[in-house]
Each structure stands twice: as structure tokens, then as C-alpha cells.
């Protein structure tokens, strides 16, 4: 335990980097996923195919390989900048998250029943408005939980940034272990940290789900389905 207390300032700094990277890549992946999904659902075949290839290209290699590529190989190409470790890490993980997220968004949108857009069309509602007001709000009830578990994974992905020297909590913990040789304590601490971070993330997304319009509607329906039972019970008691 001494190791953790003694080195707390360093560990806290590493923890701060981990949180910061995680928040950046999760928030960055969200709009990226929406854009990629929109391209993926484009009415133009060429755009559909190109975006599908791009998504596969990003998802195919392990994230570490992609990270090494962006950090070590990219600057060797003519006209390409040398990225700082932090920027390279955030860039790669955001892209990776966007590629996985795109499939979640796409599946969520496609799961909305065709009859919904038919109804919008019959009411004269434009495609954009029907997406904004009818399709997306319903799709979110699928997308948000899916994105929640992706976000939890993305928190764990951040650990690979230490490979290119970003001083996240894993990097710092390894350093502390080297200094103190208190391997057990340090790694238990590390495990607890990731557990707390992913749990907090899960709770956040759970809370977010409660706010979605379709979930609210389902809650209302469940509540009213129970209401008659209560009436029957009180009726029987009288």
C-alpha cells in the first residue's frame, strides 16, 4: 500500500492522462461514427463501398499496429507531419472507435421499422426531418447502449498509448513498480482504477439511456400496464 500512497502524485497524474485520453477518444468517436454511418448508408453506391472499405481498413489491424504506424511510419511519408505521442494516440483510437461505432449507428438506424419512414413520407415530411425527428430518436435506443459498451472498451484501449511513451496510468504504474518492487499492490491498484473508470462510464450511459424518448415511452407503457393490477388489488381489498 505504501507504494501507492508514496507515489500518489505521479499515479494521479497518469490517471489524469488516462481519463483525458479516454474522454477525448470517446467524444471524438461519436461524431466520427455518425459521419461514417451516414456515408455507409448513402444512396450512392460508390460512397457506400468506399466507406465500408475504410471502416474495414481501420478495424482490420490491431490498434497497436495502427498506433505504431501513425507514430513511426507516417512521418516517413513525404509531406506527413511528425505527430506527438499524445496526438497520435488520440487520433488512432478515435478513428478506431469511430469505425466500430459506425457499425453500431448503422445497425441502430436500420433497425427502425420501414413503416416509420413510410408514415413520414405520407405526411409530407422531408427525408432530413424524418431522420431527425423520427428515425434517429428511435435508433438512439439501440445506439446508446451499444455505444456504452464500446466506450467501456475504449477506456481499456487507452492502455496501449504507453507503448509509444504517453505517460498514462499504466505507464506510471509500471514505473512505480520498478521503483518499489511492490508488484502486487501496484497492479491491484491498476486493476481497481480500470474497474472504477469502466463502471462510471457504464453508469453514465445507463443514465443517458433513461433520457431517450423511446425508453421514456416504454417506461410509461409499463407503468400503465401495472396500474390496472393495482386497481384490481385495491378493488379486491374493499
Amino acid at each position: 500500500m505504501k507504494a501507492v500512497f508514496e507515489y500518489w502524485p505521479v499515479l494521479a497524474q497518469g490517471l489524469w492522462v488516462t481519463i483525458w485520453v479516454a474522454v477525448c477518444i470517446i467524444l471524438g468517436a461519436l461524431p466520427g461514427a455518425v459521419v461514417l454511418a451516414a456515408l455507409r448508408l448513402s444512396e450512392t453506391r460508390a460512397i457506400r463501398v468506399a466507406s465500408m472499405l475504410l471502416i474495414e481498413l481501420i478495424r482490420a489491424p490491431s490498434a497497436v499496429v495502427l498506433l505504431f504506424w501513425a507514430f513511426y511510419a507516417l512521418p516517413l511519408l513525404p509531406g506527413m507531419p511528425r505527430l506527438s505521442p499524445l496526438v497520435a494516440a488520440i487520433l488512432v483510437l478515435t478513428l478506431d472507435g469511430a469505425a466500430y461505432g459506425a457499425e453500431i449507428v448503422r445497425a441502430g438506424i436500420e433497425a427502425v421499422h420501414r413503416g416509420q419512414t413510410d408514415a413520414c413520407h405520407a405526411l409530407g415530411v422531408s427525408k432530413i426531418q424524418s431522420f431527425r425527428k423520427v428515425v434517429l430518436p428511435q435508433a438512439l435506443s439501440q445506439i446508446v447502449p451499444g455505444f456504452g459498451s464500446l466506450a467501456r472498451s475504449m477506456i481499456k484501449w487507452t492502455a496501449i498509448v504507453s507503448f509509444i511513451g504517453v505517460q498514462d496510468v499504466l505507464y506510471v504504474a509500471n514505473y512505480v513498480r520498478g521503483q518499489t518492487f511492490d508488484t502486487l499492490t501496484v497492479f491491484c491498484f491498476l486493476g481497481a482504477i480500470y474497474w472504477i473508470l469502466t463502471a462510471l462510464c457504464g453508469l453514465t450511459f445507463r443514465a443517458l439511456e433513461q433520457l431517450l424518448p423511446l425508453n421514456r415511452a416504454l417506461r410509461a407503457a409499463r407503468a400503465s400496464a401495472h396500474a390496472p393490477e393495482i386497481e384490481v388489488l385495491t378493488g379486491a381489498a374493499q
Binding site: 413503416g115 405520407a122 405526411l123 409530407g124 415530411v125 410509461a220
Partner: protein, 288 residues
């Protein structure tokens, strides 16, 4: 037959020219003027899904204010007719006109622009077999979505008119409920109200009671009877409720395999149909 569906582009051109000469009064007889003013007019419409030809050179007209019912075996193409009229699909051949305006081609014969199509489409409304209410919105929100986004009414204005229509379908007390809290019959009545708040001149009803238990179908049909009597909206109805069809329709068209095999006033179709196939279809439905 094949030729007609192969050369759809040349048809509307001449049809448009004919309509213009009508309007200028070149041969301005009443019947010709009336023809340009059909509420719905299908001209030699064909529709295929892949190799499967669903509609074959279909001609069908509905006068303004007329109530026309399509009956016929399932799979004969009735839904396809309504969906094409609602621009929820494009025919493979022929032309469709709403109040004399093609929903497919400009007067020059070019495909119609999206803006034009939207403008003409707003004169039609449709109610679906599966209701298709928006489950994430309350009843009131379902009713004001289109008025506020399409007609740009203020929320207050849209709500006042929505409540009027809710009263009409006798569901004013459900304004704040969600669709999933309502019975199927109530949901379908809401769907009718949702279509009516847009004040369509044409209303397309596709088997609106087929998904309902028989005891709930009655309340939905009552609403449609009311609409048919109290407004001069043109109705194009697909239904298997023969008694209802007989009561509410000015004219019945019997469909079979993508063609109209017989049409006429309800008393004729139900009383002494010409076609043997009409007779056997009616028998199969009535014995059901």
C-alpha cells in the same frame, strides 16, 4: 402490352400536351375538362419487382370526392397501387396524376423534381395496415409533427387543431398517452387523425382493420364512415370488410393479378357481378 410498359417516357408527353389543350379550351367539352381534374388517375401503370410483374397496364380514376374501394385476393397488387399513388415507389411504366399533375414527370417529360413531387404529394394522405404511429412520441406529438415541420404551424396552433381531430375520433383523453398504451383500434384511429390534420384532399386507406381483432375493427370503420359522410375528401380504400365497402363506396374495383377485372357501383358488384372470378372471390370472402 409489353410495348406500353417499355415506352413510358413518351406517354406522359402526349398526355401533358392533351391536358394543356384541354385547359386552353381547344376542345373544351365538360367531360374532357373533368378528365384533367381526376383526383387520382393511373394511366397504363405497370409495376414490376424484379422479374415479378405486379401491375399490368393499370388504368384507374378517382373523381374528386369520390369513394372508391379496391377489393381482390391478397397478392393481387392493391397495396402496390396505394403505395404508388403515395409516391412510396415508382412505377416501371405509365403515368400517375394527382389532380391532373403527374407525380412522375414534368410537362417536358423529364423526371419531376423533388420539390414538385413533395408539393403534389401533400395533397394525399395514407393510413397503413400496421398503423405506423411514432412510438417515441405521445399521441399529441404524433399529430403535430407534420403540421409543425411541414406546414410550419406554431405548436399552439397545431395542438388546437390536433385536439379537434382527436375529439373527432373520440380520443381527446389520450392526447398525452404513448401509442403503446393504446389498443390497436385506438392506435388506428389516431393514425387516421394524424393523416387528417394535414387536410389531405385524397386519403388512401390500406386494409386499416386487418391487424385488428374484429371487435376493434368496428370503431375504426365508424371513424371512416364519418369522414366519408362529412367531408369531400376522395377516398381510395383497400379492404376485406365487404359490408363496409358496400356501404361507403361510390364505386368498387375488383382486382386480380395486377388488373382490374371488373368495376362498378357496389350494388352491381355485390348483386350481379359480370365476372366469374369476381363471384368466386366474393364467395371465398363471404364464407370466411
Amino acid at each position: 402490352m409489353l410495348n406500353a410498359s417499355d415506352t413510358p417516357r413518351s406517354d406522359p408527353f402526349s398526355a401533358a400536351a392533351a391536358a394543356t389543350s384541354n385547359a386552353t379550351g381547344a376542345h373544351g367539352s365538360d367531360s374532357e375538362l373533368q378528365q384533367a381534374l381526376w383526383a387520382i388517375e393511373f394511366q397504363k401503370v405497370s409495376k414490376s419487382f424484379g422479374a415479378h410483374q405486379v401491375l399490368v397496364d393499370l388504368d384507374l380514376q378517382v373523381r374528386p370526392g369520390e369513394k372508391v374501394t379496391l377489393i381482390g385476393p391478397s397478392g393481387s397488387g392493391k397495396t402496390t397501387v396505394l403505395r404508388l399513388a403515395m409516391t412510396l415507389g415508382k412505377p416501371t411504366g405509365g403515368d400517375i396524376r394527382i389532380f391532373g399533375e403527374s407525380i412522375l414527370f414534368e410537362a417536358t417529360g423529364k423526371p419531376i423534381s423533388a420539390g414538385q413531387e413533395t408539393r403534389i404529394r401533400r395533397r394525399c394522405g395514407m393510413v397503413f395496415q400496421q398503423f405506423n404511429l411514432f412510438p417515441h412520441l405521445t399521441v399529441l406529438q404524433n399529430l403535430i409533427l407534420a403540421p409543425t415541420t411541414v406546414l410550419r404551424q406554431s405548436r399552439e396552433q397545431a395542438e388546437v387543431s390536433a385536439l379537434e381531430y382527436l375529439r373527432m375520433v373520440d380520443l381527446q383523453d389520450k392526447a398525452l398517452s404513448y401509442p403503446s398504451q393504446l389498443s390497436g383500434g385506438q392506435q388506428q384511429r389516431i393514425a387516421i387523425a394524424r393523416a387528417l390534420v394535414m387536410k389531405p384532399e385524397i386519403l388512401l386507406l390500406d386494409e386499416i382493420t386487418s391487424a385488428l381483432d374484429p371487435e376493434l375493427a368496428g370503431e375504426v370503420l365508424d371513424v371512416v364512415r364519418g369522414v366519408a359522410q362529412q367531408s369531400n375528401v376522395s377516398l381510395l380504400i383497400v379492404t376485406h370488410e365487404m359490408r363496409f365497402a358496400r356501404e361507403v363506396s361510390d364505386r368498387i374495383a375488383v382486382f386480380d393479378r395486377g388488373r382490374i377485372i371488373e368495376e362498378g357501383p357496389p350494388d352491381k358488384i355485390f348483386g350481379q357481378p359480370d365476372s366469374e372470378r369476381t363471384r368466386s372471390f366474393l364467395q371465398s370472402v363471404l364464407n370466411h
